[in-house]
Amino acid sequence: MKPIDLPVEVAQPSTGMAQAVLHELAGHLQQLIEAAKTEVIDITSLPMSSSDKQQLETLLGKGEVDITLNTIGESRIFETAYSGIWWIRHYTAEHKLISELIEICAVPQIIKTHPADMQQALARLQSLTNTEQ
């Protein structure tokens, strides 16, 4: 059921949090380069207003990679204009945002295929070739 759309808007001016996150990102990216240390910033739990988030996203921009995960509920992952800094949004099946992260890494962990999924894929593939014989 959709909530009733009331024409009420609570203004959420920017608070300067975006700038603070930028400093943190620079530190983490340096760590990634020097020590191959990956890091994740959880945007969901930071006290940021919606305009803060908007501002941060505008500042970081879009890079070359844009990925959609068709898991239960979509996930949108894109590399920002700053290589090694990825913006990740996980949604539920009802397209509710459940977590929003910035991952500082070469490839976000969730992209990689899990061995258990590969194992299952192999079993399915084998049963497919068996039935075809």
């Binding site: 203004a11 995960l69 539920t92 009802e94 977590s99 992260l101 969730i110």
Partner: protein
């Protein structure tokens, strides 16, 4: 893969949930639990190897709001997945069995999983007059709690009633309501207060118990991951507090601009919970986002804390002392207008002025 039947891995396979999806859920639960991303991945790996856990849920003096909260988490979510995966052997609201069959299911689960089952309790326990004020199948809540707790591996007290006594304990506490921890002293007890608690907090704690064991608890037995920060710490309106921009009434300019609700009685600064980050109704919002201050429902005795619309600075810890202390200190801002309540309300009607929060506070 029949060997996985009794494991969460088997359940995932059966439901066709990929490990990638599962990792995604664990990431979101991990982030709300303040686990590092590495730990969230470890949790995902560990959870799939966990055996079906026997859970006995006892409901005492409660309103079923806690059960509503946990069962209303929309599917498919990790909350529902974990909740579906555990073997809920007794829950008198949800189970199909009734009467003797229901009680037998409880006794059977206690016998079969002796020393291993998790006991979840919601609701307070009345101890006045030998506990006669609440009974199930002719047994007092007090007796049932003691009997079931004896062989439990751990106890999870959900909701403010089970953790602190909650509303049944509100003055004058006619039934002598107490919390689980007031009665049981020899078992690990995890307190998950809230009226009700956030669904993911309940299942997150279960997930933690299943993978890493008892989570790190604070002095009140609450998991630090969820109750480590105050609402105020994580509130998106916090920057307004820091700048001294406060709404003075529920319809003034400050309220419309979304300023801090501290002066309207918000208990965010003294309330430890995760509402500001996890939010409610599938992450839609939390009370402050709807323009109302936090009422502090996850703190002990919140009901008797002196009024939801009294600003914290005027003192809310003891309603009896509140008036005299405030008077003595000359903190008349809220109080004077409370005395003026009647006239200001009448004036407001006359002049169509908005009734301020002081008016409401004065009324109580």
């Amino acid at each position: 893969m029949t060997k996985n039947n009794n494991l969460l891995a088997g359940e995932l396979e059966r439901l066709g949930i990929s490990r990638r999806t599962f990792l995604k859920f664990c990431t979101s639960i991990g982030s709300v639990m303040a686990l590092s991303p590495a730990q969230a991945a470890v949790m995902a790996e560990k959870l799939v190897t966990v055996k079906r856990q026997s859970v006995i849920w006892l409901s005492f003096q409660e309103c079923t709001g806690c059960t509503e909260s946990i069962t209303r988490s929309h599917k498919p979510s990790l909350e529902s997945l974990i909740f579906d995966f555990v073997s809920l052997d007794y829950h008198h609201t949800l189970q199909a069995a009734s009467g003797h069959a229901a009680e037998q299911a409880r006794e059977q689960a206690m016998h079969d999983n002796k020393g291993k089952y998790i006991l979840i309790v919601d609701g307070s326990i009345p101890i006045k007059d030998d506990g006669v004020y609440s009974t199930i199948a002719g047994m007092t809540n007090l007796d049932m709690l003691q009997q079931v707790a004896k062989d439990a591996a751990a106890i999870v007290a959900v909701g403010s009633c089970a953790t602190f006594g909650g509303l049944p304990k509100a003055a004058p506490n006619p039934t002598g309501a107490v919390s689980v921890a007031d009665i049981i002293h020899d078992k690990p007890i995890i307190n998950i207060p809230g009226c009700p608690p956030i669904p993911v907090v309940m299942t997150g704690v279960l997930a933690h118990v299943l993978t890493f064991g008892i989570p790190e608890l604070d002095g009140m037995g609450r998991p630090k991951a969820f109750y480590g920060d105050s609402i105020h710490d994580r509130c998106y309106r916090r920057p307004y507090y820091d700048r001294g921009q406060f709404a003075k009434s529920f319809d003034d300019e400050g309220a419309r601009k979304g300023w801090c609700l501290y002066e309207l009685g918000c208990k965010g600064p003294v309330t430890h919970n995760a509402c500001a980050t996890i939010k409610w109704n599938n992450g839609t919002s939390f009370p402050i986002e709807s323009g109302h201050g936090c009422i502090g429902c996850s703190e002990p005795d919140f009901w008797d804390a002196g009024g939801f619309y009294k600003a914290l600075s005027t003192g809310t810890s003891n309603p009896g002392q509140w008036a005299s202390a405030a008077l003595a200190a000359g903190a008349a801002a809220g109080l004077a207008s409370a005395y003026l309540n009647k006239s200001s309300k009448a004036d407001a009607e006359k002049e169509h002025q908005p009734v301020t929060i002081e008016d409401m506070g004065g009324k109580s």
